[in-house]
Symmetry: C2
């Protein structure tokens, strides 16, 4: 009897630990969390204990689907969902109508709050995996903005040799997040330092400084218009009046970066790019300040939908030949699985063709409006930077 009981207990334990299937803890879990688990066919099992709930669901932001979880007798709810697309997906648990974090997940700032996220591995791809190469640093930069009269925070990537070649100076890329995200986006979800360390080790890109700032900015008394966010968020957020953010960049951020870091402080060595809403700000700030920037990137920018070469950005594109002289790179990217952004990118490219503005097009095959698209964008964009200038 006693022996049988022990065997039964062992079987139970094995079942709980899920050692009988091929699933693995998601790499985005906190250290002690066994769930969510990713199966070899990329199905995902979510599990959470909510003894007294009526209803618990998982909401995956990228496919806009809600999956009902099933309650076990001990109050544990779980569901295994169909194979997910590789990449980084925000998600939440919806408990009795409220979207909250999964305690098993790390948190990621998206849609105006800290959300759960899950990394679905991409077979055979390792450009954003940490490798045994020299590593740069991500530095937290606190700076005071005279424009907004407030302390701000940016993150700054410095390349591996920055503290070794103490006389070297570096070009600068200003990299902007998407709507609802903040300066942490490119650091955490984007894996910017890992992508750059790998590219630099392979000598595929020029070592550069990358500044990851937040676009939220308003002057005292100024209120930014509300931006509507997807479900699961606080509803709306207030980013910045674009001209105000442009002032922050030119009057506060660039001078601070040029003072604090060994930069090549001229337009030939300065690039600006952003994703989604950040693409709109990158174009607004960059094309509005051609004396400060000469490389431009739009990653999944909805703003590209409205591009008009005659009227947009003060008519900067009108004389294509003249713009080509001033612009070292115009990079326009979208994922093939984000239809509206892909169409926007194609529209913009057609517009630029009309006046002979040169650009580089990149379509990320099979990826949607999420961070795998943007990691690939950075991986394509960075190697094109700072070649035409006398670096």
């Amino acid at each position: 009897m006693t022996r049988l009981l022990w065997i039964a207990l062992l079987v139970c334990t094995t079942g709980v630990a899920q050692t009988t299937d091929d699933s693995k803890r998601a790499s985005t879990n906190v250290p002690e969390a066994e769930y969510p688990r990713v199966h070899s066919d990329l199905r995902v099992t979510f599990q959470v204990k909510v003894p007294d709930a009526h209803k618990v669901q998982v909401r995956i932001w990228s496919d806009e689907k809600l999956y009902d979880m099933t309650r076990a007798e001990d109050g544990t709810w779980s569901v295994t969902i169909p194979p997910m697309v590789p990449g980084f997906h925000y998600y939440g648990l919806v408990i009795d109508g409220a979207e909250v974090n999964d305690p098993g997940s790390e948190t990621f700032y998206g849609a105006g709050h800290l959300s759960s996220g899950i990394e679905i591995p991409e077979a055979g791809v390792d450009f954003y995996a940490i490798k045994d190469v020299p590593h740069g640093e991500i530095r937290q930069l606190r700076y005071y903005s005279e424009v907004t009269q407030s302390w701000r925070r940016a993150f700054v990537y410095t390349p591996p040799d920055y503290d070794i070649n103490l006389k070297a100076r570096y070009p600068v890329l200003l990299l902007l997040h998407g709507g609802g995200e903040d300066e942490r986006g490119w650091v955490v979800q984007g894996r910017t330092d890992i992508i750059m360390d790998n590219l630099i080790a392979e000598k595929k890109t020029v070592p550069m400084i990358i500044v990851m700032d937040a676009m939220y900015a308003h002057k005292p008394g100024e209120s930014a218009p509300p931006v509507t966010l997807p479900p699961g968020s606080p509803g709306t957020i207030h980013i910045a009046v674009p001209p105000t953010y442009s002032e922050v960049v030119t009057k506060d951020l660039i001078p601070t970066v040029d003072k604090r870091y060994r930069t090549l402080a001229d337009r030939d060595h300065r690039a600006i790019a952003g994703l989604s809403m950040g693409a709109a700000y990158a174009m607004q700030v960059g094309l509005g300040n051609l004396d400060s920037f000469s490389y431009f990137g739009s990653f999944s920018g909805t703003v590209m939908r409205d591009l008009n070469v005659e009227t947009s950005y003060g008519g900067v594109f009108k004389d294509g030949a003249d713009f080509n002289k001033k612009c070292h790179l115009m990079f326009i990217a979208a994922g093939t699985a984000e239809q509206s952004r892909l169409e926007a990118a194609r529209h913009a490219r057609e517009e630029l063709d009309k006046v002979g503005v040169k650009y580089v097009a990149f379509d990320s095959v099979g990826t949607a409006h999420e961070w795998l698209t943007w990691r690939r964008d950075l991986h394509e964009f960075a190697p094109l930077l700072f070649h035409e200038s006398n670096h």
Copy 2:
């Protein structure tokens, strides 16, 4: 009629926005969240929308209390709780039996997962407030551990003049988090860079490098014993077998830091301190490696309860006069509102008195087992470091 309706709407709007009381959004909220709100008498109002829940509660970790929230017709639950003690408090929302984050709060790694937290302001105290002084940086350091055969992450504080005085070398403090926290604790909850920037600006401390590492470490095949965590957590976590972490520090971390940063690489210029469980690791690693460290700090260490000057740490304290020659500082701190840790600190001091070991005692008046105690500890400890050595 129309006019009356408008007035009614305005009154409602005002009510919702809470402009009629003196409460303010907590500084730990995400940017768009109006709740939680801190009143001038330090009462706190929490609010969350969970339309279909049976029961919603707020759990404040530091006072181990659960407060029931009340449901309004629209599915919004709220509660105003009695005045809270100034400082940083972890908390969670308990929805139908599951503790989850408050979507209105930033998240903080504590008790093995990302938790909500609230900063209760301390009147007239600004040593951890950001000021118009030169600012150092927090840098993310990735390093490979030969001991654990894995990539690890630490955060490194460099003082404001680090990138200006390019020939200066700096002493190093290794600062450890508490059980259930990680390398982010001192960066985010601890506000280490702000405290140090302010102390350095006031010339109250020697500029130093501070390394904030995570104690989680195990060799391949080794399993660390489970550590029980408070409610609201995954239950248990596995930190490290202390000798394994000691090996990580001496074989991987210190050599990496000395290679990557301009350190003064000897025992006279190296300190180690930690909070709570981190105090146990600091003593184990520091006192076990007197050739590497000469300054020691225990902040709220339960480990102090068991200190025995004859037997602890291989009898290192036995010959008090000899130990005093080797040790530049032994700092033993606790909050007066954390009874068991205060008793542990007092016991340790009495033990050290028996053999004439010199130490500095610091009791943080009125604070409990939370980050205000540890911010104060750092603020007291840092000015005592690196004076006895030839800096």
